[in-house]
Subunit: 254 residues, 2 copies
DNA sequence: AAAATTTGTCTATTGATATAGACAATTATA
DNA sequence: TATAATTGTCTATATCAATAGACAAATTTT
């Protein structure tokens, strides 16, 4: 009964192994709340029947999720759900990392992984309104909530105008706080483009994901109140841990 | 030089075959515009070296994309990109299917696949403000642009208030037009929740996707201007064909 | 205490995935 | 026209994924 919601369709000869497809579906069922924390998964034999596969194939899927810290298997008792539901990350004109997750986590912060100065690519130059090849600062950051990585972002700033923002980020752990040092007390998200893909090797490592994981990708431009571009960024969110939420209030312009 | 952007990281023993990972990366590179239409892919040997795999593995990836209509291989010449960039689907308080894609496609419409009356699940009842088990109409639709499926949606309406909306949808092919028959001339999107997952078997068939494809999922509630819930819906967008765009204007409340 | 349920481990076999090498067929280039 | 570059096809082999069956180990139920 509990698992009535679990989808039961898998594809053979797809280039994606059956055990991974099953693992993904279990993960999805947990993510949308079909299984409460500590709830028991259906027995291996029941899952095998449902998906029309061998018990060992189900065991491979479960083993991967146990390895991933999502499930806990106990001999003689059953297999149980460890991980909580996905974080709901609000997104809109006034998207801010820290305030957005309030109430869902007890602790959250942004970690600066690396920063470099480089010539602007076409894409970055266009977004920031700079000449192609102009110096930009690139910041690589990771967002963490309760010790779990929930985002991995790459952000670009005009190197001339925002010289030293890397140090400010390292110190404050906040984009909002860092921008205040450059006399920017408020800013808006001008545009956000959303897509999804499989995580690449670097993201797998940085976000502590298993191969085959999906990331939501947002490409965004932040602007000052009078429309000057400040920041161009690409953020990756692990789809198994985070969902993005557009609420009416967030969508409203200030 | 052309393929300088192509990522070159793949994971072994991940449950996802190497040829599928490579196919996904090529697809992604095309989707973000790294390859223009009719541009030549690097030769098979070059790709094999870049990914550190055998040429035959690259050939499997290319074969899948040729089968999928994304690439065209010509003996002696090379392999060329057929498909265009992703559609950019605007999303916000005033999301409408048809108007949103204007300028990007010459033709677009919504097809009603099926409709049924059923008791409301917990999720649907909560969203629509109905008692659990109350009758609701479920519409299954597919959005098409220039003959290509670009969305697959399931929508629920209060069966009492919107009796006959299935017929209206079949006739008009538009949610906006159908709602006008019920004296609703304007409506807003109250909330949107975004996630991503692998397409299930039904979506693979309906959206004409290859196994392993990723879909963006939006769960949304539409309300009247005074906040009464009208429609609850879950839409799936093939990530390889569609990206979702939040622009400042779309985010603004009217 | 006995029986039933459930996860854990082992062996064996089959099919899909990946590697390796050779050579043919077609097109572009020197 | 010869040469190089590129895709297409074939054979062979190794590894991973999936199936099948049997039984052990731990826990819960009767």
């Amino acid at each position: 009964m509990i698992a009535q919601q679990l989808a039961s369709s898998i594809e053979r000869r797809s280039g994606v192994s059956l055990w991974r497809q099953i693992a993904d579906q279990i993960l999805h069922a947990i993510a949308i709340g079909d299984f409460a924390e500590n709830a028991a998964l259906p027995p291996e034999m029941a899952l095998a029947e449902r998906y029309g596969v061998n018990r060992h194939t189900v065991r491979s899927a479960i083993a991967a999720l146990v390895q991933d810290g999502v499930l806990r298997a106990e001999q003689g008792r059953g297999t149980f759900v460890l991980s909580r539901k996905r974080l709901s990350y609000p997104i809109g004109a006034r998207t801010r990392f820290s305030t957005g997750l309030q109430g869902q986590t007890s602790e959250r912060h942004i970690l600066l992984l690396a920063s470099t100065v480089e010539p602007a690519s076409r894409r970055v130059a266009e977004a920031l309104g700079l000449a192609r090849g102009a110096d930009v600062i690139r910041l690589e950051t990771r967002g963490e909530a309760d010790g779990r990585p929930v985002s991995r972002a790459t952000a670009w700033f005009d190197a001339q105008r925002f010289a030293g923002i890397d140090a400010a980020m390292a110190e404050t752990g906040s984009v909002t706080a860092s921008l205040k040092r450059f006399a920017i007390n408020d800013y808006l998200r001008q545009s956000t483009v959303l897509s999804a893909r499989h995580a690449d090797a670097a993201d797998l490592a940085d976000l502590d994901l298993q191969p085959g994981a999906i990331v939501l990708v947002t490409v965004a431009v932040n602007v000052t109140l009078d429309g000057q571009p400040i920041q161009f960024s690409e953020s990756r969110f692990p789809a198994e841990r985070v969902e993005l939420r557009l609420s009416a209030n967030d969508q409203a312009m200030p």
